[in-house]
């Protein structure tokens, strides 16, 4: 059983609305499928360059977390969020804290940290 972990870091840039959902899904899939040697993927998703995340994108974060866990890896959110983005997420009540960075967002998203692996 391979236990090696391989870090992968993906930087997201710009506005992720529903128009880019398909693109983001592909990006996440390929980032999680990178290791052929069986090592687990520890995917760090850098949100510092993101100006907007709509519902479709947030759903994809959950889906990617589930897939990563199912593969024995994990998905972490990192990077400082743009104030406008965290304000937007707050005004749509997706998060209630003033999450300022990726880990804080992961904590603030409902049950994101308790996401369980599904296949």
């Amino acid at each position: 059983m391979a236990t090696a972990k391989k870090n992968a870091r993906v930087k997201l840039h710009g506005s992720y609305g529903i128009e880019r959902a398909e693109e983001l899904a592909q990006q996440l899939k390929s980032a999680l499928a990178e290791n052929d040697d069986g090592s687990r993927v520890l995917l760090e998703l850098d949100l510092a360059g993101v100006t907007e995340l709509d519902l479709s994108a947030i759903q994809l974060l959950y889906a990617a977390k589930k897939s990563a866990l199912a593969g024995g890896g994990d998905l972490l959110l990192v990077g400082m969020l743009k104030p406008a983005l965290s304000a937007r997420l707050r005004s749509s009540t997706l998060i209630s804290t003033h999450a300022a960075d990726g880990p804080a967002l992961a904590e603030a998203l409902p049950s994101f940290l308790n996401t369980e692996a599904t296949r």
Binding site: S92, T93, P110
Partner: protein, 708 residues
């Protein structure tokens, strides 16, 4: 609607009417030509549709029955015969006359009434009764949209009601251009709302359709705007989602009774009575039991907890306005001081009782500890005030100043409800004024510059406050030009603060503006730019035990972040030991404690880097920093502290544990003592120093910068 378009409408109507005349004459010759019938219908329909918008409400109403008749013909329900053509021609003339004579409203004359009567007669038996347009409207909400709704009456005079809303959008909701988050945003804007999004239906990546919606919401909303205002939010999506809106029973605010979790779960239909009763028999917390036994899902539980919390909050607000007492603030200060002393004494008692190993005494000490902790929270909460009152003062500042500077600036505020210790709020006023002035003067550009950059001419300053752990974070963001790092570096070199070849990181460079007499403004204006201001801010915030940070994006704006401790007098700390000395590290910044691998590359001066969660962080050997004498143990601990994303590790001999402590300021003699923010008296009467984490970590980073 708008008078200037009245003539345009009139001309258009004349043209349509003359087209209609031609069409009708042609139609007389070939009454089965569907194309022609459609054209006739369209002409009347267009006139009817726009008439009302340009002040011709009367011809619009008149055209309504004619439209029905033509619609029946169009649908093949009625033949186009001489009666239809004749009637339509006469009606056409009448409409034209009405428009010519500017008949905008009032009752129909005899001729018009006769015509309407005839349309209806000609329609009888052929058309569906469209005389009541609402009959075919798709939904109740759409009806209200059309006309003033009788049910829109407010729900009681100023009565705030709470509603439970459940929203499950259809999977394909995105495909109609709908953005579910916007609905939530709109709903939240109605008033106080707590919403819990449920993502449990989101599948894993390989089975997910990225363009489908898997999220649902449970929300509780308290508003005085009535249920119709809520329904209106969903007017376009009623058929595209499962939506339920239930009014909650009158909040039972006698004796401040709040609903129990079980009650709420029952009401929500998340659990049946027998299952609930079973769970209640257990001695543990209801929520835990229910999750463990899979009686309810965690999302259902979260939604119910959110509801409970929301109702409590709304109720507290309600009670707040009911009765209050004015008390001199010195009395409160005294109370807090006394409570502070009590906390210290309590810690001593706990410690002593622990040493004596007397079970009777220990149990008393434990009970007392709970009471004291409640008393402390209570006393502190009395001194807490919402920061909103300070925010509103800044509106005036922004208004006056932007006028003086010839700029257009809007002030947005957020989180006015955030509560802070009264004394802290008072001391925040000046620093905030400085920061806002700076943003206005240096940050936000002149309207023409903004326009040239493609920004809106008016700038925005956003002032927000929020809780973040044991601190309150106040952010002042502007959408101006951002900090010019190069200019700051040049200035620093000019002043000799920075060596000619020295490089500083972005954050360190930005921190330079907090130095005394440091201003890069090209012109000194009356408002700011004299180099007084930001250093005052820094000093004041430091004195409050807080921190100032900057975020800046060239061309996009600057954010000043103030991180302020909730209260001044008491902190939660982590007690650590080095040799015979004890120190307190504020718990709010402690992230983890790890063991120090044997002498993991400690250099001469005790500084080093260690690996932590894939990060390289500098560590500081406190034994060296504070010159603690004595033999260093083989096994030591590193306390990892996190300050706005920057981590620093502190090497200590041992971690003793959590410690709630009253801060005693150090005397003037120690004013220059770097790295110490205060002292505290421990349970055994000895003194422990409180580590000024921000200063020490800054120093560590500076040192690290030099090493490299």
């Amino acid at each position: 609607m708008i008078d200037k378009f009245k003539d345009a409408f009139r001309e258009e109507a004349y043209e349509l009417l003359s087209q209609l005349e031609d069409i009708l004459l042609e139609l007389e010759a070939s009454p089965k030509d569907l194309e022609l019938i459609n054209a006739a219908f369209r002409a009347i329909h267009t006139i009817k549709g726009s008439a009302g918008m340009f002040g011709f409400e009367k011809p619009g109403r008149f055209a309504h029955d004619l439209e029905n008749l033509l619609d029946a013909c169009r649908a093949g329900k009625r033949e186009v015969d001489k009666t239809v053509i004749d009637l339509t021609l006469r009606a056409r003339d009448k409409i034209r006359a009405m428009i010519e004579q500017d008949e905008s409203e009032g009752s129909f004359d005899e001729e018009a009434q006769l015509l309407i009567h005839e349309f209806r007669a000609a329609c009888t038996g052929y058309c569906e009764d469209k005389a009541q347009p609402q009959a075919t409207a798709p939904s109740a909400a759409a009806q209200r949209d059309g006309q003033a709704s009788p049910s829109a009456a407010p729900a009681g005079a100023g009565g705030i009601r709470s509603y439970r809303i459940r929203l499950v959008p259809a999977r394909d909701i995105f495909l109609s251009g709908t953005r579910p988050l916007k609905l939530l945003e709109e709903l939240a804007a109605l008033s106080v709302m707590s919403a819990v999004a449920n993502f449990s239906a989101v599948p894993s990546l390989d089975t997910l359709d990225p363009e489908a919606c898997y999220t649902s919401w449970d929300a509780i909303l308290s508003t005085d705007k009535g249920i119709d205002a809520i329904r209106d939010v969903f007017i376009f999506v009623e058929d595209q989602c499962e939506l339920s809106i239930d009014e909650l029973g009158e909040a039972d605010d006698e004796e401040g009774h709040t609903k129990k979790l079980g009650e709420i779960l029952l009401e929500r239909g998340a659990i049946q009575k027998p299952a609930l009763d079973d769970a209640l028999k257990s001695q543990r917390k209801l929520g835990e039991v229910l999750i463990d036994t899979h009686a309810v899902s965690s999302s259902e539980l979260q939604a119910a907890l959110a509801e409970q919390d929301h109702l409590k909050r709304v109720q507290e607000k309600h009670v707040d306005t009911g009765s209050s007492v004015r008390v001199a603030s010195e009395k409160l200060d005294q109370l807090v001081d006394l409570v502070g002393e009590m906390v210290t004494l309590q810690a001593r008692l706990s410690r002593t009782s622990g040493e004596l190993a007397d079970t009777g005494l220990s149990s008393i000490a434990e009970q007392l500890e709970r009471l004291v902790s409640q008393l402390r929270d209570n006393a502190m909460s009395i001194r807490m005030l919402p920061i909103g009152s300070t925010f509103s003062k800044f509106r005036r500042v922004v208004r006056d100043l932007s006028r003086d500077l010839g700029k257009q600036v809007d002030l947005l505020t957020e989180g006015e409800d955030t509560e802070l210790d009264k004394t802290v709020i008072e001391r925040l006023n000046d620093p905030l004024v400085h920061i806002i002035r700076n943003s206005l003067d240096h940050g936000i550009e002149q309207p023409h510059e903004r326009k040239a950059k493609g920004k809106p001419e008016g700038g925005t300053i956003c002032l927000s406050a929020s809780h973040s752990g044991a601190t309150v974070e106040i952010r002042v963001s502007d959408d101006g030009n951002g900090l010019n790092l190069e200019a700051i570096r040049n200035k620093a070199r000019e002043r000799g603060i920075m060596g000619p070849n020295e490089e500083l990181s972005e954050q360190d460079t930005m921190q330079l503006i907090f130095r005394p007499s440091f201003s890069t403004a090209q012109n000194v204006s009356a408002v700011s730019g004299r180099g007084v201001g930001m250093d005052v801010v820094k000093r004041e915030i430091d004195a409050l035990g807080g921190g100032v940070y900057l975020e800046s994006k060239p061309g996009q704006g600057t954010t000043v972040v103030l991180s302020i401790p909730l209260t001044l007098a008491i902190i939660e700390g982590l007690l650590v030991r080095i040799g015979g000395e004890r120190f307190v590290i504020p718990l709010s910044c402690v992230e983890a404690c790890v063991e120090l691998e044997e002498q993991e590359g400690l250099s001469e001066d005790g500084s080093a880097l260690i690996h932590y969660r894939g990060d390289l962080i500098p560590i500081v050997d406190l034994r060296r920093s504070f010159a603690v004498p004595g033999e260093q143990p083989a096994l030591r601990q590193v306390v990892v502290a996190n300050d706005q994303g920057t981590r620093t590790g502190y090497v200590v001999d041992a971690v003793i544990g959590d410690y709630q402590t009253v801060i005693k300021p150090l005397g003037r003699l120690f004013k220059e003592a770097e790295g110490i923010s205060g002292a505290t008296i421990l349970g055994d009467g000895t003194v422990a120093l409180i580590i000024d984490h921000k200063r020490v970590s800054e120093a560590a980073r500076r040192q690290k910068g030099r090493v490299h």
